[in-house]
């Protein structure tokens, strides 16, 4: 299997030097992002739905209720486009025109298949919990048979994809650099706040380290 996921359809055309196509870069973006946006077509019109995903090897998984329109549409093997975006900062240039953002995004194109095997489903459930909160899957009560049956899991091969990345400071027009305007980057991070324990928690349960020390990226 190749490690370069560029195809005609995934080639970044606007600001092409921001494009990246290697598997490692794309995997890292998928792994850091908590959610993805899944695009599909219904009656000729686009639909974009946010959902949790996880990656296992070269496969991207997402899941939900068997009643979900998104999952019922995609399990028929129609075209899907999954996009994840990480915001890294605001880029404040001297000119309004050159304002920008620092970001890392990835786009995966392909057709999903439904995961039918229980073993694979269980691996995906573990991976989903680990994706959101690494360390959590060994604490949480695992899915029972009914929960496994009720949950639809889809697998999308990560074979045709691209990343697009902007880093660094503002790039202004030469004649604007002398202007007396503050310019620079305001970095942004998704930061955990104080945990809110459930009111119905059993007495004497300690807060796990993966909650106290949670960080993303």
């Amino acid at each position: 299997m190749t490690d370069i996921l560029q195809t005609e359809r995934t080639t970044v055309r606007r600001l092409a030097k921001r494009g990246a196509y290697d598997r490692d870069t794309i995997h890292r973006i998928l792994d850091e992002a908590l959610i993805c946006h899944v695009g599909f077509v219904v009656d000729g019109a686009p639909v974009v739905i946010p959902t949790i995903h996880t990656r296992v090897g070269d496969t991207l998984y997402f899941h939900g209720s068997a009643a979900s329109r998104m999952l019922r549409t995609l399990r028929n093997g129609v075209d899907a486009c999954v996009t994840v975006t990480l915001l890294d900062g605001l880029v404040l240039a001297r000119s309004a025109f050159h304002h920008s953002m620092n970001y890392r995004s990835a786009v995966i194109i392909g057709k999903a298949r439904e995961v039918l095997e229980v073993e694979e489903k269980l691996r995906v459930f573990d991976a989903l919990v680990e994706h959101v909160a690494p360390g959590r899957s060994k604490d949480a009560r695992p899915p029972n048979d009914r929960e496994v049956r009720q949950t639809l899991v889809l697998a999308l091969p990560i074979e045709e994809a691209s990343a697009k990345i902007r880093t660094g400071g503002p790039i202004d027009d030469d004649e604007d650099y002398a202007m007396k305007i503050w310019a620079g980057v305001l970095p942004l991070r998704l930061v955990p706040q104080s945990p809110l324990p459930d009111e119905r928690m059993s007495a004497g349960v300690e807060i796990p380290r993966y909650v106290v020390e949670y960080r993303r990226g």
Copy 2:
């Protein structure tokens, strides 16, 4: 104009009680989100691209180079689906199955028009800068004629839309509450880090208050 934006196509079907359709709720989500994901159809297949947006009244605007495939496709008045998602926290339940996230998302469906009038374009450029960093538009050098011409601006009426919102703690199965497992919410926020001034800044430029005190939501 109605203040309820629910239609057959925007009705939330999964977990319907999380759906909201009033204009105020949808506007607030659009205004807090720094980026949106724009879905459209190319040769029958879905494409989902992240971009900056802004709202002026009942219209959602996005912009970019006149060379952008997304903008060139959408200016032809084809169907678009714009989705924004704000992550508010991780919901850690006792069972893996009931893990969730707190979030606020909005979906707008419609056909965009290209903004041709220069006056409207200039208002949108101001609004875009203000959307990202309120207060910034009075400092930044405004767009010149060339920049206005080079930039394609699209307008999408916010008429057919929905929001979907989850708040609160985990909801476990009755028999799981007695388990000795930590459960609760880990709130997440997009938080600014220390500003990074541009190396080529003119001497004596003070850092603006809207950068030092930046916050989202």
